[in-house]
């Protein structure tokens, strides 16, 4: 047996901006064990629900994460609406769907840029983020914020959109689809990118389910599960099929996210086409009483929102399980037997958001 040594990895690491610390047990260059520790950016946002009005807590819920912010606000609002038996207007449902899919586009483009950066492919990184900037501009136009949107409220949405904004959105989606093609080609057909990704960190379907992988991790391993099919917002009225790949390696996870981008473009076009007229919110009177367990599909995977209310304006408990929390055990499994040089890349393929996880 080779001599084992322990190499600390993170929380500050040049490749990985996320504050996760790993103790890597190495035999020569091969990782034989990894012990994660998190807790560097805990902010106690769940606890704040006990001291803030449940309507104002939306602003805190969406500030849990800078990338999934829209989803967190929406998941929290949908849970509250179900506790209070509030049916939101159809236009609000469609607007939430459009913004959720735009969030997915900007999250996946961000991830593609980070992947290119981890590979040392700087120009591809710049190209991905240049495209992401276009969708952020449309967000700024429609909601008034680039990454924190503050448009959700229990009972609907706070801002309506007009025809000009929708036309601008559709123009941007068309542009993005056209300009994504050469970028996607570089990720999928470039020899150097492929040599780093093919066959790296293979996760089988049984393993993925057993270890609790969610989102693109799960679907890239051949498991057909997408929380959008559970029927929240306007998803039941839109036509889509989850993207599923069977290889389960890092290349499949990259390809899956690229295909989900195209799927999101399609969903945005469908939702804009079907966007009904009408009010954007219904008044919510009284205080919630009861509990609900809401699941939504964030760009990074399935997120769970649990609320327990006691009939006052302060909730008893808000629990948020982010996709990264579920994806850490499969990530540790991937690290077994990989090369030290691939560790950062493998961590990146789960699209980690440690700040989200620690809340």
């Amino acid at each position: 047996m080779a001599k084992q040594s322990i190499v600390p990895f993170g929380p500050q690491h040049p490749v990985l901006p996320e504050p996760v610390h790993l103790d890597l047990v190495l035999e020569d260059e091969v990782v034989v064990g990894a012990v994660p520790s998190i807790g560097f950016v805990h902010r106690g946002l769940e606890k704040l629900v006990e001291t803030k009005d449940f309507k104002n807590y939306v602003y805190i819920a969406e500030r849990v994460c800078g990338i999934c912010s829209f989803g967190h606000g929406m998941g929290y609002c949908e849970a509250i609406e179900r506790v209070m038996n509030v049916e939101i207007p159809p236009r609000a449902k469609y607007l939430r769907t459009i913004w959720m899919e735009m969030s997915r586009v900007h999250s996946h483009l961000l991830w593609l840029g980070l992947l290119a950066d981890a590979l040392g492919f700087e120009s591809l990184f710049m190209q991905s983020w240049r495209l992401r900037e276009k969708i952020l501009d449309v967000f700024d136009l429609m909601t008034g914020g680039r990454v924190i949107f503050s448009v959700n409220t229990p009972g609907g949405v706070l801002k309506d959109v007009d025809g000009d904004m929708l036309r601008q959105l559709l123009r941007t989606v068309d542009e993005l689809q056209k300009e994504l093609r050469p970028v996607a080609d570089s990720f999928l057909r470039e020899y150097t990118v492929g040599s780093r990704l093919h066959g790296l960190g293979v996760l089988g379907p049984e393993q993925a389910v057993e270890l609790g992988a969610v989102g693109p991790m799960l679907r890239a391993s051949g498991v057909r599960y997408d929380a959008r099919q559970l029927g929240y917002a306007a998803y039941p009225e839109l036509d889509f099929e989850p993207v599923v790949l069977t290889e389960g390696d890092s290349y499949a996870r990259c390809e899956l996210r690229l295909r989900e981008l195209t799927q999101s473009f399609d969903l945005i076009r469908q939702a804009v086409g079907k966007l009904p007229e009408g009010p954007i919110a219904v008044p919510v009177k009284g205080n919630p009483d009861g509990e609900y367990f809401m699941r939504i599909e964030q760009p990074r995977g399935e997120a769970v929102y649990y609320v327990r209310a006691n009939g006052t304006k302060f909730l008893d408990r808000f629990r948020l399980r982010t996709p990264t929390t579920s994806n850490i055990p499969p990530m540790l499994e991937l690290l077994h037997g990989c090369q030290l040089a691939d560790v950062a890349l493998l961590i990146l393929t789960i699209d980690p958001c440690i700040s989200c996880t620690e809340r």
């Binding site: 104002n56 602003y59 900037e133 700024d140 429609m142 914020g145 503050s150 801002k159 057909r189 492929g194």
Partner: protein, 202 residues
């Protein structure tokens, strides 16, 4: 090795060479902000009634209102630009304006004083006791709790519906009008909503 492509980025590189840059030279070229952008909060201080609803709605607690001094204070560094105060303001004197605040080396708060109140800093003894009293319009708008004249009141419940705090309870059958003085912020919205002019702020 078969799928190695020759100069795959040549097309992109050439295109970039002859097209406008994707970025702007920001401090030299002014940034263009969309109309809805939530950059910073502006207050029309003349319309403010110091009701304190904005401070209650503010998630990070960046706002402070002082009814006696007639001031509205914002800590720009604590403000998260959520726009919650703008929705809560019963007088619609707050708005989110485009453009970011200038950065600074220390955390400073900004204080606005309502017209008719002494500016912050100098605290003269003379106008203080008679603070809002000589200013008739200010008193008429706010600064007190609503009192109902039941001889003219028709118990139409409009005041209760308009109250941002839900502090008024009206029972049409029993002909009662009740005010929860603790939650009332004295904004005077009920007074302007009353069709019979039977409400007054005292």
């Amino acid at each position: 090795m078969a799928n190695i492509r020759f100069l795959p980025f040549a097309h992109t590189a050439l295109k970039n060479l002859f097209s406008r840059p994707a970025t702007t030279k920001y401090p030299f070229e002014p940034a263009v902000y969309p109309e809805r952008m939530r950059g910073h909060i502006e207050i029309a201080i003349a319309d403010c009634i110091s009701c304190g609803l904005c401070a209650r709605a503010c998630p990070p607690g960046a706002l402070k209102t002082d009814r006696a001094a007639g001031t509205w204070t914002i800590d720009r560094f604590d403000c998260v630009q959520c726009g919650s105060c703008v929705i809560a303001c019963p007088k619609k004197c707050l708005r989110m304006a485009p453009g970011y605040c200038a950065p600074g080396p220390d955390k400073r708060s900004e204080t606005f004083t309502r017209p008719g109140f002494p500016p912050p800093g100098e605290k003269p003894a003379a106008p203080q006791p008679a603070g809002p009293a000589p200013e008739e319009p200010v008193v008429a708008q706010a600064g007190g709790k609503p009192v109902n004249d039941t001889s003219t009141c028709v118990f139409c419940t409009l005041c209760a519906k308009k109250c941002p705090q839900g502090a008024i309870t009206v029972d049409r059958a029993a002909k009662t009008w009740k005010l929860d003085a603790d939650s009332c912020v004295g904004c005077g919205i009920c007074v302007s909503a009353c069709p019979k002019k039977s409400l007054k702020l005292r």
